[in-house]
């Protein structure tokens, strides 16, 4: 599999920060992989997304040492939909088409890319709506479509379903395997380990800016609520869901 991004011994420090946000991180993501990044707050998962996609230090400043090889275009999706709108577009269709139009493509390919992206996210019916009047969930789907319209080789998602309802979150994560099959490399940093584990092909766990584990997705069971449940002796699944807890209480 072709590596879309390769990091070797990468250390990164934000401007004015007392310590490094990433320390000696080595990681490769190939086309078709879905890598879930897990870790506690301050572990460096969001920073790793920015470094892997080349946005750090270029746009956020800071110092980076080590080797980074990036092949192809990158897209990034954050958790708050509102901050990701351009503000220039009065319809969803225009918002999604903004990216390909900015690349200077001709009108027809731009509209075709935008149309495909909206279809993938199931938002074609919203094409003429004003983004300012959409719900948070609908808006996040518009944002993802806007990024997909540029057909990135590497898609980074930073807790993308934080403001979505459970159905919306399920739909968003369910989309990722189809994108990976199409050849996209996907990096998703999220505390939603259950959903991440259901779609990821690989898991990377960070702590204090270092990679502490890199392997199969069952590694995610060793972090966060899953780790607490396992240590407490709860039976699987990890992390525990409400039905399984109720069954345990009811026994």
């Amino acid at each position: 599999m072709t590596a879309v991004v390769t990091l070797e011994g990468v250390t990164f420090r934000y401007p004015g920060a007392a310590r490094e946000a990433l320390c000696g991180v080595s990681l490769g993501v190939a086309a078709g992989e879905i890598v879930a990044l897990a870790g506690d707050a301050g572990a460096g998962t969001s920073t790793l997304l920015l470094v892997a996609t080349g946005f750090a230090p270029r746009l956020v400043g800071g110092t980076l040492t080590g080797t980074r090889r990036l092949a192809g275009r990158c897209g990034i999706v954050f958790s708050r939909p509102w901050t990701q709108l351009t503000g220039l577009c009065s319809t969803v269709g225009d918002e999604v088409a903004f990216g390909p139009a900015s690349l200077g493509l001709a009108r027809e390919p731009v509209l075709a890319s935008a149309g495909r992206a909206m279809e993938r996210l199931g938002i074609t019916h919203l094409a003429t709506r004003d983004p300012a009047h959409l719900s948070g969930g609908e808006l996040q789907r518009v944002v993802v479509a806007s990024v997909l319209a540029m057909e990135p080789d590497l898609l980074a998602l930073d807790d993308p379903a934080a403001e979505l309802d459970p159905a919306g979150a399920d739909a968003l994560y369910a989309l990722l395997p189809a994108l990976a099959v199409g050849g996209m490399a996907i990096l998703v940093a999220t505390p939603d380990l259950e959903r991440a584990a259901s779609v990821a092909t690989r898991a990377v766990v960070l702590a204090g800016g270092r990679v502490v584990a890199d392997g199969p997705t069952h590694l995610l069971e060793g972090t966060g609520v899953a780790a607490i449940a396992r240590a407490a002796g709860c039976p699987p699944p990890y992390p525990p869901d409400v039905p399984s807890l109720l069954r345990r209480v009811g026994r």
Partner: protein, 186 residues
Amino acid sequence: MTLRDLVLIRLGVAVNLVIGQVVAALLLPIYLDSVGTILVACLVGPRAAIAAGLVSQILSAVISGNFSWLPFAVVQIVIALYAWAAARLGLFRRLATAVPAGLGLGLVAASCSAPISYFVFGGVTAGGVTMVTTVLRALGAPLGVAVASASYATDLLDKAIACALVSAVLRSLPQTLAARFPALTR
């Protein structure tokens, strides 16, 4: 200009246009419609601050409908340059230097807006300031003196508070956030 500069200018313009809502809720006799311009001057630089001031003037006209105030855009340029100079001298580091800097800005801004108000608008522009002008005129002051006095009084208070507020913002910035703005003198 970088994308970062543009986003910060947009933030400055938005602050200029929205802070009036906060001021109105407090029933204070000021506008604070230059806070964003002064902030951008400190965080980015003079060109960005001028852009923030000019765009604020245009959008303020678009929102209120009163496009006759566009000639006051010149005052925005002066405010931007003064604020940048004050930032370079480190006057926003402490409240004790920010307030006098604001009074100086008020003097300079009024010295620019009063002639525009007098020569271009005959002294009649915004309600509040012109009311003061009218009262002074009724008391026998020459029109030029009435216009100038009204402009100075409102501008001194307005700009002193604006600079104090910007100083408070800059001093409240977390270290990591402040480090993102190379133009910021700490």
